[in-house]
Amino acid sequence: MQLTGAEIVIRCLQEEKVEYIFGYPGGSVLFIYDELFKQDQIKHILVRHEQAAVHAADAYSRSSNKIGVCMVTSGPGVTNAVTGIATAYMDSIPLVILTGQVPTAYIGQDAFQEADTVGITRPCVKHNFLVKDVKDLALTLKKAFYIARTGRPGPVLVDIPKDVTIQKAEFHYPKTISLRSYNPVIKGHAGQIKKAVQLLLDAKRPMVYTGGGVILSDASDKLIKLVRMLGFPITQTLMGLGGYPGTDRQHLGMLGMHGTFEANMAMQNCDVLLAIGARFDDRVIGNPAHFGQVPRKIIHVDIDPSSISKRVKVDVPIVGNVPDVLDEMIRQLEASQSRPDEKALAAWWAQIEEWRARDCLKYKMGKDVIMPQFVVEKLYEVTGGDAFVTSDVGQHQMFAAQYYKFDKPRRWINSGGLGTMGFGLPAAMGVLFANPGATVACITGEASIQMNIQELSTCKQFRLPIKIINLNNGYLGMVRQWQQMFHGNRYSESYVDALPDFVKLAEAYGHVGMRITKPEDVEPALREAFGKHKNDLVFLDFVIDPKANVFPMVAAGKGLSEMILAEEL
């Protein structure tokens, strides 16, 4: 049967079992929106800015492992979406982004709302396509979904000129697809895994370090099994939190620039390091030369060969899908006669407990002023540690990562790689569409929240009962912290003046607003928000200590063990 391009788009999305499209209509996608109108299988979520559409689709994927889909129009629709696309790309989130384009005959003529979408987005997508012939449309969309979800996942963009959505072609959606130029490795090399297992068994001071790859590949169960079997300490990156239970004794907390003392010390001083789905980035290991001063053997499991030996030389590289590799490791360990060195391990744990006893996340409770750490701790208590937590970027993000102990994967949703302010609120929307009825908190700050605050309107339209935890210190907190520590207290442009009355603002959008200024009111306010106002969006504006800083801290360019601790100041 002959279908128009617009009909083909919708049929393809239906074949892919897409539930939601996050988007914003415009001239070049009108025919697709028209087809969307005529069916009811796929629901469209109208956002208020294209960046939010991508963040929402992104968090929909992060919190469910389904592919997020968004649709925007040509020109400004695309350029607005770019920040969202780059955010997803840096964190390897599978998305399919459909963009309208001016008619093929107009391309290159500076037409109204024309932008070189494929050119603009090339460096921040896993792949992108411009469909110039309606006959290629279905196959291209099939490729897009396939590429987005396989291998190291990522966003894939399909640019569709308006005339292509009108022209007709025979519709055929292929069941499977293979590309000669794209064959991700799944199984790890058995010989390499054998070498790795031997290293782990011989280790005296072993350490497991995991990242977002564990979450993305749903390898949590296997990771827990392996780590418990070995009895080794484990630390997780910002992107990996929840992959291994945050409350477990073997977990040393997050590592890196704002990691715990015990995690960073163990990372620096281990003799065998098992890195899984993590990429040794600058915020994680600090200065690579300093990290290299302690000799250690590194095993690195990752599906992307280019992540291996990029910043740190690796001794045993294992390219493969994390759960498949972990399966094989567990199998070989079970088959092996030898066990980890109990005595060495006991001594190592004794050392780690000594580090842990420093209690590096301790903070001074104010009598009159609310500490941000306290708000996150109370949020953890009130939500039973089981909420989905999205965040923006800055101090509040670090406090959330440090004090909310995530026990499950896909509960902690944040922009780790790109560090995009304005991510939190649209992300919370996406989480709720993927997990209807879930408890969702967006931990944010008064600066970040204003970068996509217009989405309060979307939240009203779709009745999304998000709880916004605004840690309001009147500063760009992380910028101010760096200025205090490294720029002689010169707070250049980091003070946010003329803040809105967030309570009135929330109310203006039809939501509930609360302003909390005293420590004793923190818990009651949270209980009210998650209790009485369970079904409302509540904007909780916590007025917090403006000078609270995030510790421990590894200054940029310093080594992991050169932390600045709160107690030292």
Partner: protein
């Protein structure tokens, strides 16, 4: 060190910019880049000459392999290979220099492919050093214009880059 990287890539619009964009985005160096379709018109073969440490070259080949359109990547300079570059040089050829220029072209096994009363166009192939040597051998002031294709290369014997 100088490396010659050969790439088989889907012959699609924008494929070249994906490769070029990768090099500029990640700060890798390109000495030369040549590209043309192969005997199978659905594939292009690209040759890139880059200078970098072994670590950098390893990252370059990994990153190239990561591009969806890239089918195969080989570092030709890892083993025996031949490389050639084509150069066209337009030189002033008048008076006694006309004969001298003809002789130099012959010595370097070049061909004169265009002749006017006052100029020659000399075609020369060889590796990069040979072409450099020719330019050094003739009187610089006589060179009117040069154009070079950049290096293309192929493995010796059984080393074959094919799908």
């Amino acid at each position: 060190m100088r490396h010659i990287i050969s790439i088989l890539i889907e012959n699609e619009a924008g494929a070249l910019s994906r490769v070029a964009g990768l090099f500029s985005a990640r700060g890798y160096n390109i000495e030369s880049l040549t590209v043309a379709p192969t005997e199978d018109p659905s594939l292009s073969r690209m040759t890139i000459v880059s200078i970098g440490s072994d670590d950098i070259i390893e990252q370059i080949t990994k990153q190239l392999n990561k591009l969806i359109d890239v089918v195969k990547v080989v570092d030709l300079s890892e083993a025996a290979h031949v490389e050639r570059e084509l150069m066209l040089v337009k030189v002033r050829a008048t008076g006694k220099e006309r004969e001298e220029m003809k002789r130099m072209a012959d010595i370097f096994r070049g061909h004169i492919i265009d002749v006017t009363e006052s100029s020659y166009v000399i075609e020369l192939t060889g590796d990069t050093r040979k072409l450099d040597a020719f330019l050094d051998a003739i009187d610089r002031s006589l060179i009117l214009e040069t154009v070079r294709t950049g290096v293309c290369g192929i493995g010796r014997g059984d080393r074959i880059l094919k799908v």
